[in-house]
Symmetry: C2
């Protein structure tokens, strides 16, 4: 844990939900302030509770994305993939059960709700046998009290072995399972009517099958995983490196990106490294296993663009260095200009 | 399953979140339309999945109550008690883990959030060792996109034996664990500034300890349980009786109610039988065990006003008859005049 300044804020700001330092400060100050619960204090995307010879893994996500439907996905698909992926990042690839709460604004079109629900069912089918919504709740707020719809989802899984997000070791190779920025740039582009939707699509997908392949190939040499959602690659790597007390070096030229995402990032003036992804994983693996794991990822339909993007190095905890080919710049996980309602 | 008319609505109405027939129709038409999942189709407040020699019990609830703080409780306490009680109604009294999502409006006072979180922690402590929030999520929506705060909570437990809400048998005694109407009338009274708050308090409390006592006293003679939340006693009993294909007779004079709740119900012109409770259970028990279970309930601090309020009888599925002392009237689970954001 790094030292943090005392928390002196008085009101919720957008940055408190943006996945960066302000959100971590809020969680530390308000939600973890009094707790001594080791599962909560791990501050991982999924809690791993000792259970029998293994672990009960449990995670939860609220989704507030606007607009609720966008190229490549919708809030229903996102709600399932979000928790399936958080379970998978902990190494829990076989989902045991999902729950889903839907909060609706009065007047919300039922035809849209049917489409969102069909999308939930499709995402569950893609995520395998246990991925099914077994319990739910529906609440309605008056017109004007809520903008559209919120989904809140929880996932439960059992795992014999878990992977943490704090397991980075100096020397580890850092892999990403595919292109970056697609989800966030798609949602922003759809929201602002930039007309890029033809080529740009969210990457939202359940990653448990892909992660299973990586774990089968790398075994215990897979040291840490995290999905770069809110806060993007920069946010996720900063958190991983802070927890592990290490630094990370990335090669800019190695970061996979589609031409459409590159164009959208330029048009919107947004660094794609801070943009949310919803179908990608960062995987730190012992250098001797990097080739095997990368090959396994690339052989999977969701991993064909997987790449070796950098290395874990000894250095100041949480420091991220980007080798641009012309020099090195330091990446900072910032709260400036948060991107609200991206997921 | 009773036959239902085809679902021809086009937009979400407040009644779709009110716990009555409109909500059940929405759930059937949209959420359960295509599913063949037995856990989901049971339409119980908690899903009971076979697991080893027993069951994995899981439930989820979104809370949108307005105002978020009210006499006797707040949305934080409600969010924990809601899921703890749904687990307890299935007979799962030892909570294994809880998750909590909080969606906040930009500008929400952090001092209020701290109070709500402290309340979450207190409710967890009351609900026993396993009741702890091990995973969470925080999202922020822009000012005006959400009115205040939403909590969404999931609970997981393991149970050797589960109790269903459809186990009513003709001849069963129907018990309630205490006074009715307190929660909903308190929230409405606080919202409308009726000034009744001095005497009127929400009953929101974790019932797993009380239910444990009832199950220890009644064993397998406890045939069914349900907590009368949204839709109140009328809504809960209608659903229980519909599922079991039986009717229920209630004695009005036996229904426990505080003087303050009675006064508020009269002032607001609301039938207390349709008002949400957040710390009460309906328990159907074989007649020969009714006395033992009732005595056990009354010996518990949360059950001192427990009462034997009626009987399960053979009759039209879902019919509720209220013996007023001057005759009998039929209670109907209605959507007219839904009470939004009571829980």
């Amino acid at each position: 844990m790094t030292d943090r300044p005392p928390f002196a804020e008085t009101h919720v700001r957008l940055a408190h939900g943006a996945g960066g330092p302000a959100m971590r400060a809020l969680i530390d100050a308000v939600f973890l302030g009094q707790t001594r619960d080791p599962a909560a204090l791990a501050r991982a995307d999924a809690a791993c509770l000792p259970f029998g010879d293994g672990f009960l893994v449990i995670t939860t996500d609220a989704h507030v994305v606007s607009p609720p439907e966008f190229p490549g996905g919708d809030i229903g698909r996102l709600s399932i993939c979000g928790v399936v992926n958080d379970l998978a990042m902990a190494g829990a690839c076989d989902v045991a059960a999902l729950t889903s709460c839907v909060v609706l604004e009065e007047g919300f079109p039922l035809e849209t709700l049917r489409r969102l629900h069909a999308s939930v069912e499709r995402a569950c089918a893609e995520a395998g046998a246990g991925a099914r919504v077994v319990a739910g709740d529906t609440k309605v707020m008056r017109r004007g009290e809520l903008d559209g719809v919120i989904f809140s989802t929880t996932g439960v899984a059992f795992a014999n072995r878990v992977v943490r997000d704090d397991g980075l070791r100096p020397g580890d190779a850092l892999l990403i399972t595919g292109t970056i920025g697609d989800h966030g740039l798609t949602v922003l582009s759809a929201r602002h009517g930039l007309g890029l939707e033809g080529e740009l699509r969210s990457d939202v997908a359940p990653l448990n099958g892909l992660v299973k392949v990586a774990l089968a190939a790398g075994g215990a040499q897979v040291h840490a995983m995290k999905d770069p959602t809110r806060g993007g690659v920069t946010g996720a790597l900063t958190e991983m490196a802070e927890k592990a007390g290490v630094a990370v070096r990335l090669r800019e030229a190695a970061l996979p990106m589609t031409a459409a995402a590159r164009a959208a990032a330029e048009l919107l003036g947004i660094d794609p490294l801070i943009v949310a992804n919803e179908g990608k994983a960062l995987i730190a693996v012992a250098p001797e296993a990097a080739g095997t794991v990368l090959a396994a990822l690339r052989a999977h339909p969701l991993g064909h663009a997987a790449a070796h993007i950098g290395e874990v190095v000894a250095g100041p905890a949480g420091e991220l260095l980007l080798d641009t080919g012309f020099g090195t710049r330091r990446l900072v996980s910032r709260d400036a200009d948060p991107l609200p309602r991206i997921c």
